[in-house]
Amino acid sequence: MIDRKWIGHELPASVLPIERSRLQFFAKAIGETDPVYTDAAAARDAGYPDLPAPPTFLFAAELDSGASDRLLAGLGIPLSKLLHGEQGFSYHRPACVGDTVTVRSTITDIYDKKNGALEFVVKTSRATNQRDELVAELRSVIVCRH
C-alpha cells in the first residue's frame, strides 16, 4: 500500500529549458510533419516567436530533472508496476524555444480500486515561464498494478 501521508507532498521544482534541437527530436519521434514544429521560419509565420513546444511536451520537465523517478522511489512504485492512467493539460500561453519552463507539482490524491490491486496517485502541476507567467496546468494519474 502506498502511504497516504504523501497526499499534499510538494515536489521540488523542475526547470526545463525549451531547446530547438530537443523539439526537433521530439517532432521526429512522434512523426510530426507540420513545419511549425521543426522550422523556425514556419513557426514565425504562424505567429510564434520560435518553435512552439507541442501540446504534450512539458511532461518532459519532471522526467529530465529526475523528480519523477525520485517520487516513484519514494512512493515505493517500481517501474515494472507503473502504468499511466490519465493525463490532462490546460493551456494558458505557448512555450517556445528560448523560454525556460518551471514545473511545480503536488500530490493531490491517492486511492485504490479492486481491493487494492490497483493504486492511483494523482499529481497536479503548474508550469510557468521565466517571466513567472502561467504556461499550463497539468494533471497526471499514475497507476501501480500489484
Partner: protein, 139 residues
C-alpha cells in the same frame, strides 16, 4: 491549412483522421530519448519480460502526442485550451493506431467561442487505446 471557424463547424463534424504506421522498437527508442521517459519497460525486452509483459510496449505519452497531432493538424495549437485523456489499453508492438475526433459541443468558455472535441485512438483491431477530449477556441 485553413483553420476551421466557429460558424462553419457543426456538432457531429469529424476531424480528419490520423493513421500511424505500426509501432516498432525504433519508434519507442526515439520517443524514450525525445520525451525523457527512459523507463526500460518501453525499450528493453529483457526488462519488459521480467516485469510480466510479453515484450516492450508504447509509452502512453506517445499515444497522447499522436492525438495532439490530430488536434493541431485541424486547428492551430495556440487555440488549444484543454486536452485530457484516459489511457485505456496498452499499445503493443505491431499496433497501427488510428486517431480520430468529433465535435460534440459548441460553447462559450471564459469569454471565447469554443468547441469540445472527443478524441479517440484505436489499433487495427478496433480496440480503444486512448479516449479523451479537447477544448479548442475558434474564431
Amino acid at each position: 491549412m485553413t483553420a476551421p471557424t466557429y460558424d462553419a463547424v457543426n456538432v457531429g463534424d469529424e476531424l480528419p483522421a490520423l493513421q500511424l504506421p505500426p509501432v516498432n522498437r525504433t519508434t519507442l527508442a526515439l520517443f524514450a530519448g525525445a520525451s525523457g521517459d527512459h523507463n526500460p519497460i518501453h525499450i528493453d525486452t529483457d526488462f519488459a519480460r521480467k516485469s510480466g509483459m510479453p515484450d516492450v510496449f508504447a509509452q502512453g505519452m506517445l499515444g497522447m502526442a499522436w492525438l495532439g497531432r490530430l488536434l493541431t493538424q485541424w486547428a492551430p495549437q495556440s487555440q488549444l485550451r484543454r486536452f485530457d485523456v484516459r489511457f485505456q489499453g496498452i499499445t503493443h508492438l505491431g499496433h497501427a493506431v488510428r486517431c480520430g475526433g468529433r465535435v460534440v459541443e459548441k460553447l462559450e468558455h471564459e469569454g471565447e467561442r469554443c468547441v469540445r472535441v472527443e478524441v479517440h485512438s484505436a489499433n487495427q483491431y478496433g480496440q480503444t487505446r486512448i479516449a479523451g477530449e479537447a477544448l479548442i477556441a475558434l474564431r
